[in-house]
Symmetry: C2
């Protein structure tokens, strides 16, 4: 068995890249009939610069069943050897959590998924049971509302720190989602979870800084991927889209690699 982190580290080293490309079609820009074709084009253009891909299921589910057919075609277009993260943020209990794990790991065959830890350990265990897959638990998200609950003080520390310290004890295949828009919190999570693989969204359109991210999270292949969605996926319009996406992915790869290189 190779673990998810091993596969990610191998791909990340091979491509010299920490870049996770989000494949998130906006229904205002890309009608469902176009999604699979558009994604194939973006994947082909960005693959050389990409550590992993991350479709967020919301953007396929918004189209109903035709959107899920487009997701199927999209997954088929991703070259073997590039891990795929299913960004689903599911969270449910008991046999329901088992059903979600089955959906994401067996039906969709994602290498890793995102999961919401709010319902506690027994809601996460069914995902962790797939030892060769990765389970990124939400810890400190990249949106303004993250502060509403994630920053509440629990017994002297913010909730997101308690989550980081708690969930990383639940299994070897636990990773964490920490937004690039909060570099101080990212540094703090890395200190609490030195051995956890981190998925960091929020660079690009959301404004997080790639260099700050690497400085805070460390630049070890397999231990960090930085997601950009719109800023790569919609970097260009029409016929210029693939070339623009490739350039945006290459630029982010190079910025992250430069920040990670030994001085």
């Amino acid at each position: 068995m190779t673990t998810y982190v091993q596969r990610l580290a191998e791909r990340s080293s091979q491509a010299g890249s920490f870049v996770c490309v989000g494949l998130d079609p906006d229904f205002r820009r890309t009608p469902v009939e176009e999604v699979a074709r558009y994604n194939r084009m973006i994947i082909e253009a960005t693959a050389p610069y990409t550590a992993c891909y991350k479709p967020n299921l919301a953007f396929y589910e918004q189209f109903g069943i035709p959107g899920l057919h487009a997701l199927e075609e999209t997954l088929a277009a991703i070259p073997a050897g590039i891990p795929v993260i299913g960004d689903a943020k599911r969270g449910d209990i008991g046999s329901t959590a088992e059903a979600y794990a089955r959906a994401l790991f067996e039906t969709w065959k994602f290498d890793a998924v995102t999961v919401n830890p709010f319902l506690g350990r027994d809601s996460v265990d069914p995902f962790l049971a797939y030892a060769d897959r990765g389970v990124y638990l939400l810890c400190r998200t990249s949106n303004p509302g993250a502060a509403d609950f994630q920053h509440l003080q629990v017994e002297g520390e913010p909730l997101f720190e308690r989550i980081a310290a708690t969930v990383t004890r639940w299994g070897d295949n636990v990773g964490l989602v920490v937004g690039a828009t909060a570099p101080a919190e990212l540094r703090c999570v890395r200190a609490l979870a030195p051995a956890a693989t981190l998925l960091v969204p929020g660079v690009g359109a959301q404004g997080g800084d790639p260099q700050e991210v690497v400085a805070a999270a460390g630049g070890d292949p397999g231990m960090l991927v930085v997601n950009a969605s719109r800023s790569i996926y919609y970097a260009g319009e029409g016929a210029a889209a693939p070339q623009a996406a490739a350039e945006a992915a290459r630029k982010l790869r190079d910025e992250l690699a430069a920040a990670a290189a030994p001085a």
Copy 2:
């Protein structure tokens, strides 16, 4: 415009019922080819005793796209006038939350949905923007792991109490999910959120007591529904399933109605 709570109250009064029937096919018992037919049978048998239905999306997604076709057929089989709650427990940010709201309210046309509040207000607002729909936010779930984070003390109160007090200020169409397995917590949430509609899972297979639930949550139509899934849906085997489901739904309806009746 009629609100979700108005429609639920009307149906609940008409059927004399607080019962929400969970439509959750177990893949070990019901292969995907059978799901739509089985659900039609259960719906027809239980409709007289039912305030609303609640398919949990996990149990359809576990089958892949054929499962979603079965969900489509299931929704088409539910009689007009009986509200349907899409139990999805989604939670994501910005345009992703908008996409999930579109998926659940526009594509699937659920009357209400369950949403995870962990990502904060801006992750919930896109659902609340649908003023004629209901948004049940997870507050205190019915599983043992609920205690891991939901019971952490934040500034002198448990997190689930803080959530109840906070999210009910976010919109008129906010409801709360509180498990029947924790009647003391349910009573406490009702005190904090006297005007919120409550979805209470955890009676039946999970062991919550119907009388305790009504005593804690109050018995006003539209303000409470009590979900049972397996204990109704799989009350009987084979050809006996519909009659057994009808009897289980009627029994739960009668227990809840007796508890809600003025003494």
